[in-house]
Amino acid sequence: MRLPPREHELIDRSKTVTFTFEGEPVRAFAGDTIGSALFAAGRRVFGRSFKYHRRRGLLCCSGQCPNCMMTVDGVPNVRVCVRPPREGTVVKAQNVVGSLDRDLMAVTDRIGGPFTPVGFYYKTFIRPRWAWPYYEKFLRNAAGLGKLDPHVTERRRVDHEHAHAEVLVVGGGQSGLEAALAHARAGRQVVLIDEGPEPGGHQLANRERIMTMRSLAAETAQAGVEILPFARAIGLYEGNLVPVDRGSTLVKFRAETVVAATGTLEQPLVFAGNDLPGVMLPAGARRLANYWSLRPGERAVVLTVDDRGVETARELEAAGVEIAEVVDYRERVPRSVVAKGRKQVRSLTVDGKRFDCDLVVMSGSPQPNYGLLAHARARVEFDPGRGIFVPVELPPGVEVAGEASGDVGSPAVPPPSHGEGEGKSIVCFCEDVTTKDFKDAVAEGFDSIQLAKRYTTATMGPCQGRLCHLNAVRVAARETRTDEGTIGTTTARPPTSPVSMGLLAGRPHEAAKRTSMHHRHKDMGATVFWTGSWRRPHSYSADPQAEVRAVHESLGVIDVSTLGKLLVKGPDAGAFLDRLYPNRFSDLKVGRIRYGVLTNDAGRIFDDGTVARLADDEFYVTTTSTGADGVFQWFEWWNAVWHMDVELANVTGAVAAVNVTGPNARKLMERVFDGDVGNEAFAYLDAKRGHVAGVPALILRIGFVGELGYELHFPSPHGEHVWDALFEHGAEWNATPFGLEPQRILRLEKTHILVGQDTDAESNPLEAAMPWIVKLDKDDFIGKWAIEHVQERGLRSLLVGFEVPSGRMPVEGAQVVVGGKSAGRVTSVRYSEQVGKVIGMAIVPIDLSGEGTTFEIRIGGELDQAVVRTQPFHDPEGAKLRS
């Protein structure tokens, strides 16, 4: 089947690989694609169409059209015309019932037509209603192309790179090379990307031009242009970002100037039988002959609107193809063209004259490939004199070179279609949309290209309109009796060609944050779980209650390094915080701590934490674990808005924190801390600096969990050292590590809130039962107006503690029910051994918020009773905290 060895062929006949197609071995030369090797082996049918299961053969040989999609090594929808085989590659046909040559579903083409016109599925299977799921199942199975392998879990390694170019030229055809050369000679750093194995563009398949192209490429490279082969631009995004697909690498280029030298998209002509195997685009036929030394047919008819078809005829003749006729539209535009044949084209009848042939080359309008330009919002205009869309009004930093600009000479304008009533004239190859479908769609009122596109689904298939957009617009314009300029275009959207999710995703990363003591937790048997992006100990044993007991009875230690930690420093620091928080910090004494919630301008709580004054002009602010970055941004934003004399630093990662708590906490502190920890010298809500186990530290005496407690903040690198020291010296009091779950029980016993759990996007400090934290007498603070408004209108709900006398446990999120309707919800609930009850917090209507009030909650689908408790369940006076 191969021609004798030819000059410039891309195959190396000394090297072969063998792959299988439908289980049969197929031999290929190095340089072959799966498609060319199958063609060499005599295959003419490469696929079945989406809807009618019509036979489809090689059409473009450039990876553009849907005709040759097969399943390769389990991956569906691979365009085999551009995929090289490897030894042992397994290739299978797809979307067929039976085989490519005998596909049972092809019955839809022969007899299904009248029953399956455009949009038939909108008008059928409506009644009876219950039957739709069955119809749907059938439709779903009939649709789709290849089949995914559900068991694949391994991913090919893909890397992402970032690159910069002063000039990035997309497309290595003649004009791309020339543009690159010109820019390089002007002293700019130029990168040129090209999809193929070497630059040269469509002229690589032109034996007369190939050497000229190669020397131009060499000259360009010599001028310092970096040429990247096998590199495909995915799109042109804002800021001249051009992500480039290089197979196993995604290179994200940023360029000062992007030059689109993307050439043209060869368009099919629309005539009856234009999708038969053997009807090809010029590039398809030329590549078969010149790349792979295959004779695309024995006898050919060429239909062409410009020189491209004439050149193609010459190239084919050189490959031994007999040219029966060249129909040059510039001389005469035929009115009727009909291709016939069953398994492949056997004849072409042009205006009544029949030519026997097994190859038809259709060289329709040379449509500039403006996709990248359209992504960058270039406008596109119809040129009626040449029958093509051309880009106009380029955005800054974007240039266009060569044919992509519309510089395509003076092609003839072919008719939107050639005659009717002789079988299907395909407009959209991907979706099997015919000229008749457009006629019907317009007749039904889908009379703009946007509506017609959506109704017929033309341009929505795998080629994304590259082979059908122009023809679709022209057919629709004819049917609506308007012109192409009026009917307009659909929007060219990225990506320029389909791009795999594996390439986009890159290597799988596990975005976990761990504290500097993480490995100690693992060593001590912690169950680690996700909280936001942090991994934290849930508990260290199967019994979190034991850890709770340890805290209440003796000594517990918890890693709280995940807390956000900000330094606020400067003469205005106090005033700055006064504006951010509803309560006041400017009057906080140096060395003292105050709790604060942060509200947004609508008075809603979005974070909380403690604020310690370290010096007159310096505050140490802690935030919630998940809120750290958000609060820091919030502070920075307002600092920029207010122009205050304040500097901010986010030290969350640099500082580790451990809470040492329990009745014996002071005893441990006496051992490890180099300062006085007596209750007089170091009182509740004092902040002191000193050393813990020799490490400089800031100690905050606070009590989130309700027992005497010290929160030690120190440089992260010393995490394990401090942790070890605490357990070494604390062994006497049986120091016990405790995790997040025991902490939640402990804080619930104190009814200390967790922002985001006990509050939601509508919670304000008043209805969250923290009126003491709001200082409305301050000049202003963020959210003041809104909180004043809440006070004026009166509270409608309140966050309260509750207990469940029946001992049943509602879920967190359980509804408070009044009169059968939701009236509030349980925000937190746990069983407390200490209290001996199921306790929790809930948002209840204000009239049910009084101490001792009974309200109903839904537990396990039934209503149960809960009783309001407005005081903390444990140590309501805070005596232990102050002890």
């Binding site: 989406f50 789709g144 990506p495 975005a511 999120g813 919800r825």
Partner: protein, 401 residues
């Protein structure tokens, strides 16, 4: 069935009249549904729908077609519950197959906090008779055996909503358009509203690119430009506009029936009847009216999607697009009367407008016909921003599809 042999115009073209009883601005699903129910339920037929582009050009043609009712607030859940009920019979009502397939909807939880939010939604839903419940890992695997539970963000469980499903969005637009046309309403495409006439606190008509039109009632059913439109009538809306992005892959044979949403990973996915995977993310965090797609979107989405479905690594994304979303402070819509008599708004639909279409149409039509606000949309009135009675979907809305 007969319709496949006899082609009829779905809707007609008309000359613009000088006056209509009701002028609806925006020829998306909401506007067309309102026109349809005005005629069907209330016999009001002197109605026109003005669309500056083509019908369904905005959010109706850009959304990812998910229909569900498992909302967080009782107000939202009840509203969408009734919407789903209407959707279930809409194909028969409109005599147009909308291809509504209720294959179920799973909102994954990747943390114990996520499980609590799921539980809360399930509790709210169950009280309202909505089929919605929390399922554990095993049941997630039963419902969706393809899923990979132990990726970078392990799946703890999910909120399962069996009636959730997908529909053919364009068909909803076209079905309502045909119904509205047959009911007597006029659909005008390519006419832009440039002004709203207000005199003595009452809307009296609109200015358009084809001249003035007088109106008894003007309804704004737009998304993306609703703040500017309302401003034409002097009404200020607490709305900011941003984009939501989506993308679709090449079609493959059936792989995934159920809809998968992950709020924490900010992704969701369904497979259409055509075989494509339809995927999306949360709204972008910056205000914009630009329809520009970003590369970061498909990059991040792919990264997280492959975490759940590594089988999709070789699947190719075919195209990506954007739509405008009008966001309100509480992530609930703004519907109903305004301080300008005769000017009704149906705006602020964020990422949840399409799924409300039938109930929006029926309630707005009732509001216009009777002059009183139906109970179901009472919570969504504009006044709530003055009385501080917000309907907070925000907590559940990191990804709300």
């Amino acid at each position: 069935m007969r319709d496949i042999f006899f082609k009829k115009k779905m809707w007609r073209r008309h000359e613009l009249k000088p006056r209509y009883d009701v002028v609806i601005i925006g020829g998306g699903a909401h506007g067309l549904a309102t026109a349809y129910y005005l005629a069907k339920n209330h016999g009001i037929t002197n109605v026109c729908v003005l669309e500056k582009s083509y019908i369904g050009a905005g959010g109706s043609g850009r959304n990812t077609t998910i229909i569900r009712s498992n909302y967080r607030t009782p107000e939202g859940a009840e509203f969408y519950r009734d919407s789903v009920k209407l959707y279930e019979h809409l194909a028969q009502d409109l005599d147009f197959n909308l291809m509504f397939s209720q294959h179920g909807h799973l909102t994954l939880a990747h943390s114990d906090r996520g499980m609590v939010v799921s539980a809360e939604r399930a509790e709210v839903n169950q009280l309202l008779g909505i089929d919605s419940r929390v399922v554990g890992r095993d049941e997630v695997m039963e419902i969706c055996p393809q899923i990979h539970l132990d990726g970078a963000f392990p799946v703890y469980g999910a909120l399962y909503h069996p009636p959730g499903g997908v529909i053919r969005h364009d068909a909803v637009v076209w079905g309502y358009a045909r119904g509205a046309d047959r009911g007597g309403a006029e659909i005008h495409q390519g006419i832009e509203v440039t002004g709203i006439d207000v005199s003595n606190g009452r809307a009296t008509g609109v200015q358009t690119s084809r001249g003035p039109v007088a109106a008894g009632t003007v309804i704004a059913c737009t998304a993306g430009w609703s703040t500017q439109l309302a401003a034409m009538a002097g009404v200020k809306l607490p709305i900011w506009t941003t984009i939501l992005q989506a993308c679709v892959t090449e079609p493959v044979k059936p792989f995934l029936d159920v809809i998968i949403v992950s709020g924490q990973l900010h992704i969701y996915i369904s497979q259409t009847d055509r075989g494509e995977f339809l995927m999306g993310s949360g709204v972008e965090p910056y205000p914009t009216f630009s329809f520009t797609s970003t590369f970061g979107f498909i990059e991040e989405l792919s990264k997280h999607m492959l975490d759940l479905f590594p089988q999709l690594a070789s699947t190719r994304i075919l195209r990506q697009w954007t739509g405008l979303c009008d966001m309100t402070p509480d992530f609930s819509p703004v519907m109903g009367l305004t301080e300008v008599d005769g000017f009704v708004v149906d705006c602020g639909w964020g990422t949840y407008g399409f799924k409300a279409t039938p109930i929006v149409g029926t309630t707005l039509a009732e509001l216009v016909a009777t002059g009183t606000t139906p109970r179901l949309i009472e919570p969504f009135k504009l006044e709530r921003f003055y009385t501080d009675t917000l309907v907070s979907e925000a907590a559940a809305a990191s990804v709300t599809h």
